[in-house]
Structures are given as C-alpha cells and as structure tokens.
C-alpha cells in the first residue's frame, strides 16, 4: 500500500511542477483544471451513487458550499488556499453528514429528489444572502504567482492534479477494503446486509460525509479559478449532470470509471465548446448520458470486461 501510494504521489507532484516548465499554453491549464475538478466530483459522486446506490442530484449544492466557504475564507479572513480547502471540505462534509441522516427514511427516488430539493434551497439561500454578494456575486483576485510557477493558474492546475490523485486513491482504497464490500452489499439489498451484521447506517453516514467533503474540496479553488463567483453559474445543473454522467460513462463499479469518464467526457466538452459552441456541448453530454444509460449500463469499463471474458 505504502509503496504503491508514495511513488505515484511524488510522480504526480513532480508532473504538476514540471509540466508548466515545458507546456506554456495557458488554455491547457484552463481546460485541464475543469477536467480535474470534474474528476474529483465524479469520484465523490460515485462513492455514494456507484457503490452504495444512493443517487445524489444535489452535487451543485455541495460544490457551491465549498466554493463560497473558500471565497469567504480567502476574501474576509485572508486565509491560505489550503486552509480554505479544508474548511470548505469540512462544511460540505457536515452537509453530507446531515444528508446521511436522510437515508434512514428516504431511499431510491425519494432520496434523489430530496438532494435536488436541498441543492435548490442552498442556491436560494445564497441568492438572498447579501453579505455573500447575493445574486450579484463576489469578485476574487488571484494572488501573485510564486516560483516555480509563472502563472497562478498553473499552480491551481498542479493543486487540482494532486487533490484528484488523493481522491481517486482514497476511493480506490475504500473499494478494495471491507468497507467497499459492505457498500456493495448495501446497494444490492440493504435489509439483508443489515441482518448479516453490516453497520449500514454508520457506513452510509461515512459515504455521504466523505462524498460531501470531496465535493466541497473540489469547489474550494473555484473562486480563484473563475475570479468572479455568482450563485447561478457556480451551481449550474451542468455540474450535477456531469458528475453523474462521467461515472456512468466510465463505469460505476470500478474506481477507474469516473477517471476515464472525466477524461473522455470532460476533455470532449472542452474541445467541443471551443470548436463548436458551448450549447452544442451541453446537447452532446445529454445524448451521451442517455445513450450510455440505455446501451452500455456498465460503462466503458463494463464493455472492456465483457470483451475480455
């Protein structure tokens, strides 16, 4: 475990630092940041949706709480981005903990609608909260870049690369451990697994809290990335659609699924929105999502596994 973690970790950090020395196209980091952000969100969504079987339609709500917590920390408390990310994760994780309590009574569709409702309430609260800029939004200035980075965006990219690595590794670790097996038992039949001694409620709380934490962390650097934060664009339906489309396209049963989905779907979106238009880009995600749900319910990983066997 240790060797398989630290070596890639050092490699990822080195990649984040070295890449800007060679690739100087700033659009690469602009687009890459979004792909990495969705990789974290998709991985976080899959932890709850793919393994435990509870569909979260409120990803935008968790993301926006992360983004606004971090904006407040950066603007009003002059905090460091790392501390802001932790604070964002903790607040969003607390929301996830609360959502975990919903799973006692709400399953399936009702849980999904409740999370959607929750995210719309969060958006309304932020729109009506004048101290947070309300509907007008907040302006955030990026700090000066520091060596070895010549642009702050390059640092944000390296940061997201590392966070994405940590999230994927965490979920991979969970998937391989006894917790992951219990998650799948809950997804298949909750009552039976409870009878077999699986602490279903505590594990569901763990999943919702961790998933919320990761979504909050993914949202935390967003104010620095976008430099103008407002509630409508920060929690667009697109964030939720992407976070669930990517695992479904990649495959929900494996930790690599969301990663593959984020790279393919996220990368394709960045290319389409530059070469064609951002509206057509939305249409394509919708069609890809529906096509995969109907034709390849196991995702790309499922297709590969089927071909092998």
């Amino acid at each position: 475990m240790k060797k398989s973690f630290f070596l890639p970790a050092i490699a990822i950090i080195a990649l984040g630092i070295l890449l800007p020395q060679f690739v100087k196209v700033s659009y690469f980091y602009f687009a890459g940041y979004i792909v990495l952000q969705f990789m974290i969100l998709a991985t976080a969504w899959n932890l709850l949706g793919g393994y435990v079987g509870y569909v979260n339609f409120g990803v935008g709500g968790f993301f926006v709480i992360g983004a606004y917590t971090s904006a407040v920390m950066l603007l009003f408390l002059k905090s460091n981005i790392i501390i802001a990310m932790l604070a964002a994760g903790i607040l969003s994780g607390a929301l996830g903990f609360g959502v975990g309590y919903l799973t006692i009574r709400l399953r399936g569709i009702f849980f999904a609608i409740a999370t959607l409702a929750l995210s719309i309430i969060i958006q309304m609260v932020i729109v009506n909260w004048h101290w947070l800029g309300g509907a007008n939004g907040l302006y955030i200035f990026r700090p000066e870049p520091f060596p070895p980075f010549s642009d702050y965006l390059e640092f944000l990219f390296a940061l997201m690369l590392f966070v994405a690595f940590l999230s994927v590794m965490l979920v991979r670790y969970i998937e391989k451990s006894w917790i992951g097996k219990c998650f799948i038992a809950i997804r298949d039949t909750e009552e039976a697994s409870e009878c077999m001694g699986v602490p279903t409620f505590r594990l569901k709380l763990l999943a919702t809290t961790l998933s919320g934490f990761m979504m909050g962390v993914a949202g935390a650097p967003f104010p620095y990335y976008i430099t103008y934060l407002e509630p409508y664009s920060a929690m667009d339906l697109l964030i939720t659609v992407n976070s669930l489309a990517m695992p479904l396209v990649g495959g929900t049963a494996h930790w690599l699924g969301p990663v593959i989905g984020a790279i393919l779907l996220g990368g394709a979106q960045q290319i389409v929105s530059v070469t064609i238009s951002s509206e057509w880009n939305l249409l394509i995600i919708g069609i890809v999502l529906i096509a995969f749900v109907i034709l390849a319910p196991e995702g790309i990983i499922g297709l590969i596994q089927r071909r092998r066997s």
Binding site: G49, I121, L244, I294, P297
Partner: protein, 288 residues
C-alpha cells in the same frame, strides 16, 4: 393586514388549481405507474413553448393551443414510455438507471429549447390576460382564475377517467397488482403506455397555463421539480382528488409566505414541505 392575508389566501387557492394542473400528469406517471418521470416539468416547458409558437404565429388562445397540442404530446409520451419500457422496465434494470434516463431527458429538453429559442423570456397574449374581477376587497385576476378553472376541470376529467372507464380502472389495477391484471386477460403494458401518454398529454395544457401566468424560459422546469414532486407526495401517490387538495395547500402556503416573508422565499416553501413530508409522512395525506 387582514385584507392582505385574505387576498393572499385567495391567490394561493387559485395558484393551487394551477399547481394541480401541472402535477396531475406526474400523479399518474409517478404515483400510479411507478415511472419516475423527473422530466415532467421539462415537458411542461416544452408545452409552453409550443403554445407560444401557436399564439404568436396564429394568434390562438393559449388554453386552446394547449388543448390542440395535447394529442401530439400524447404520442410523444407513448414514444418516451416505449423507450423507457424496452430499455429499463423489461430488462428489470435497477430503478436508479431509469431515474438517470429521465434526468437526461429533462436536460436534453432544456438544452434543445435553448438552442432553438435562446434564453429570452417568452410571453403569450390573450384577451383575458391582465383583466381582473373585484369581489369586495378581494381582487381576482383572470390570469390566475382561468388556470385555476382549467386545473379543476382537468382534475375532474382525470378522476372520472380513472374511476369510471374500463381503461382507467385497468391502469389503477396495474398500479396495485400487474400480474393479477394479466391473469384477468388485460394487457398491463398497453394500459401503462396509454396512461403514460395521457400524463404527458396533460403537460401541454399545463404549459399553456404556465405561460399564461408568467413568462417562460428554458431553465424554468427545474424550479417546478420541487413543486410537482411535493404535491404528488403530499397528495399520496396516485390520488387524483388528493392532488387538487395538496396543490391548494401548497399554493396557499407559498402565497402566504411570499406576502408575509417576501417573494424571494416563495419557492423554498415547496421544497421545505417536500422535505418535511418525505421525512415525517412519506405516504402522504390521501393515500389511496
């Protein structure tokens, strides 16, 4: 203050009739057929745009335009259900995939509308929009009264359909025990297909009411997800008469909140009610 509250309650009851109209279809599809059509509000917005086209090009009355469009929507509904049935229900896929399918449909409708019509607000014209009747100190605007009336009529029609006609009773039978229906020699899939078609047929009428009450833009559907699901659940899944009562409860609650607490909080009411009902009494008020 007193007059303000009475006016708010009257407006809330009228709003409730409209909410019934937009929810009835979902009460059929989600409540009776167990098809989680989260795209229902999307079809309503689609209906609203269809009505807008007929109204601006031919000058048709919006409610009439909605009625004219409803056969077309009936067939759209049948098409959607056949795709859903063949790719999810027949295969016994887990219901969450069906949910994601409808979420994708909702997203697709919104994006298609943005691509064709842009994000501008659209309005319709009719002789009754903008007029109002004064009863004492209570002002009743026709813009709310006509949708209320249509909502009540739609409730009665659907109630009669599901309690008096052969096809309606089969559909209710499917909701209770699909195998028993098949043993009685009826085709449950056909009944479900027609009933789902009907549920989508109501959305063009609901869309006509929506665009009569206020301007419509492609993303509006999302705001109504909370409302329609709150009413369906509060009514007790699949109860047609319960839908009207639950819709009026929501309408009055929203209207009072908007009057007393400020219009910005009106929408939070439906989601609040939804969360409370789901948490406290998920079977709703009028469980059939």
């Amino acid at each position: 203050m007193f007059e303000l509250v009475i006016n708010a309650i009257v407006a809330g009851i009228l709003l409730g009739g409209f909410y019934a109209a937009i929810t009835l279809g979902l009460s059929v599809s989600f409540g009776m057929l167990d098809v989680v059509n989260i795209a229902h509000p999307g079809f309503i917005i689609l209906g609203g745009y269809g009505v807008w086209l007929l109204n601006t090009s031919l000058g048709l009355d919006p409610v009439l335009a909605g009625l004219i469009l409803s056969p077309l929507f009936f067939f759209i509904g049948i098409g959607v259900y056949l795709v859903f049935y063949n790719s999810f229900e027949k295969r016994g896929a887990d219901s969450l995939r069906g949910l994601v399918f409808f979420f994708g449909v909702l997203f697709l409708i919104e994006v298609t509308l943005i691509l064709t019509f842009g994000v501008d607000y659209r309005l319709v014209r009719a002789f009754w929009i903008g007029k109002s009747i004064e009863v004492g100190f209570v002002g009743i605007s026709l813009r709310l009264f006509i949708p209320f009336l249509v909502g009540v009529i739609l409730t009665v029609v659907l109630y009669l359909f599901f309690s008096r006609t052969f096809l309606g009773m089969i559909t209710r039978g499917v909701a209770q025990d699909s195998t028993a229906v098949r043993l009685m020699g009826a085709n449950p899939i056909l009944a479900k297909t027609i009933a789902f078609g009907l549920s989508i047929a109501t959305t063009s009428i609901a869309g006509a009411l929506l665009i009569s009450i206020g301007p419509v833009e492609p993303g509006l559907g999302r705001e109504f997800i909370g409302r329609v699901f709150a009413v369906t659940v509060l009514a007790g899944m699949g109860s047609i008469s319960g839908t009207l009562i639950a819709a009026i409860i929501l309408g009055v609650a929203e209207s009072l909140t908007a009057t007393l607490g400020g219009p910005a909080w009106g929408m939070a009411v439906s989601f609040g009610i939804l969360l409370i009902v789901l948490g406290v009494k998920p079977s709703g008020l009028f469980r059939r």
